[in-house]
């Protein structure tokens, strides 16, 4: 009797343990397999094209847009920002290294010193402050122009987020993962509801993109963001997070706050191995 009990108990423990402690690597394998099985015809890198990888009718329209991409001028603006010296004579290269094509793939990453997830945008503003310059806004404008340039220079390189075996880093990863799967807002929906379980389906007129490949093309140019009062069209990943939170009637979190940085850590890790194709064009 006692034996059966202990057996049962330990079986239960093992079951819960494997659920709670599935490693990032296992998560990634299951995540990718899920989408590969759901969309057998789609090549891995094509997931980086969001809804256009899943919806043939929208793809044509998008391909014609990509022939004269509206984001090109912002890539040029970003290059200018990268090359223009600060008032102290230094430039972004003093923070990021001379080669602009080697920057994007380093982000996001875990910083063991500050014990937090560091993003490209975070380091851009850190660099500005350290050099006595005014930091950029977090969601659009110059920060997105520079991001577009650095992304463009990194095109073709593979996403490669490293989750170090450090309990704090794993905790940040788990927090980001939980954020992604938890329902929130008055409409009670999780990121995963739309971008995993119903990816490829249409919600009203929008084809829901797969979360696999979600991060590769940011910052993104969105026609919707190029309207009066919204900016020049370009926006960062955290801007998009805010938009997707508020459409389920949840209060968006602060761009570059801990919640979204941890989400970015998990979310980008899930696209490891996919090529960077930033900046992207979307409706």
């Amino acid at each position: 009797m006692k034996k059966t009990l202990t057996l049962l108990l330990s079986a239960g423990l093992v079951a819960t343990a494997t659920q709670a402690f599935s490693s990032p690597k296992e998560d990634l394998e299951k995540f990718r397999t899920y989408f590969e099985q759901r969309f057998p015809g789609v090549q891995l890198n094509d997931f980086g094209n969001g809804p256009y990888a899943l919806d043939a009718s929208k793809r044509l329209q998008w391909e014609s847009m990509e022939e004269f991409p509206p984001y090109e001028e912002y890539v040029d603006k970003g290059r200018e920002i990268w090359e223009t010296p600060f008032k102290n004579g230094k430039s972004f290269a003093s923070c990021f290294g001379k080669d602009p094509s080697k920057v994007r793939v380093k982000y996001p990453h875990w910083d063991s010193k500050t014990q937090q997830v560091v993003t490209l945008e975070g380091d851009i503003n850190k660099c500005l402050k350290e050099n006595g310059e005014k930091p950029f806004g977090w969601k659009k404008g110059k920060i997105a122009h520079l991001g577009a340039y650095l992304g463009y220079e990194a095109r073709g390189q593979k996403t490669n987020v490293v989750i170090p075996n450090d309990p704090k880093a794993l905790e940040a990863y788990e927090e980001g993962k939980h954020f992604f799967y938890a329902k929130r807002g008055q409409l009670n929906m999780a990121c995963a509801d739309c971008h995993v379980y119903y990816s490829g389906q249409r919600i009203r007129g929008n084809t829901l993109s797969a979360a696999l490949g979600h991060t590769t093309h940011f910052p993104v140019f969105r026609a919707k963001w190029a309207k009066k009062g919204k900016g020049d069209g370009l926006g960062t990943l955290h801007r998009r997070y805010g938009g997707c939170n508020k459409q389920v009637r949840a209060r968006p979190f602060k761009a570059q706050g801990k919640e979204y940085r941890n989400l970015e850590f998990f979310h980008t890790y899930m696209s490891n191995g996919l090529e960077i194709n930033a900046p992207g064009y979307r409706e």
């Binding site: 409409l187 009670n188 929906m189 249409r202």
Partner: protein, 119 residues
């Protein structure tokens, strides 16, 4: 004689039934129209985001089309309950709990139920 009363009785019942039908149809015609408006309104029910419903445009493909609802839900109360809180039947559902989260008022849910039940 008995036959006559029987016949008369029969006719009155039929008449009464007809009157009743016409009456209830009239009452709910307004309700149905109002319910439809709420169901289609993006800021209210927004059912079309996920469900195909006859008469609606740009419907989503997430959820089963809402047709033949009287067959699916012979009990209207069950239909209302599904709309009020879809997580009871399926805790993981993507369908918003219209009543439990007060996305719609009780009155609005009644009207939407009238409309969906008519499909």
């Amino acid at each position: 004689m008995t036959k006559l009363t029987q016949r008369l009785g029969g006719t009155t019942t039929v008449l009464a039934l007809c009157a009743g039908l016409v009456f209830s149809a009239q009452v709910s015609a307004d309700n149905i129209a109002e319910g439809k408006k709420i169901a289609f309104d993006r800021k209210k029910g927004n059912c079309l985001a996920c469900h195909h419903i006859e008469g609606g445009t740009l419907a989503g493909t997430i959820a089963p089309p809402l047709v033949a609802m009287k067959q699916r839900f012979p009990d209207k109360a069950k239909l209302r309950a599904q709309i009020w809180d879809a997580t009871v039947a399926n805790p993981n559902t993507i369908m918003p709990p219209m009543g439990r989260h007060k996305i719609l008022t009780e009155k609005e849910i009644d009207l939407v139920t009238d409309f969906i039940y008519s499909l």
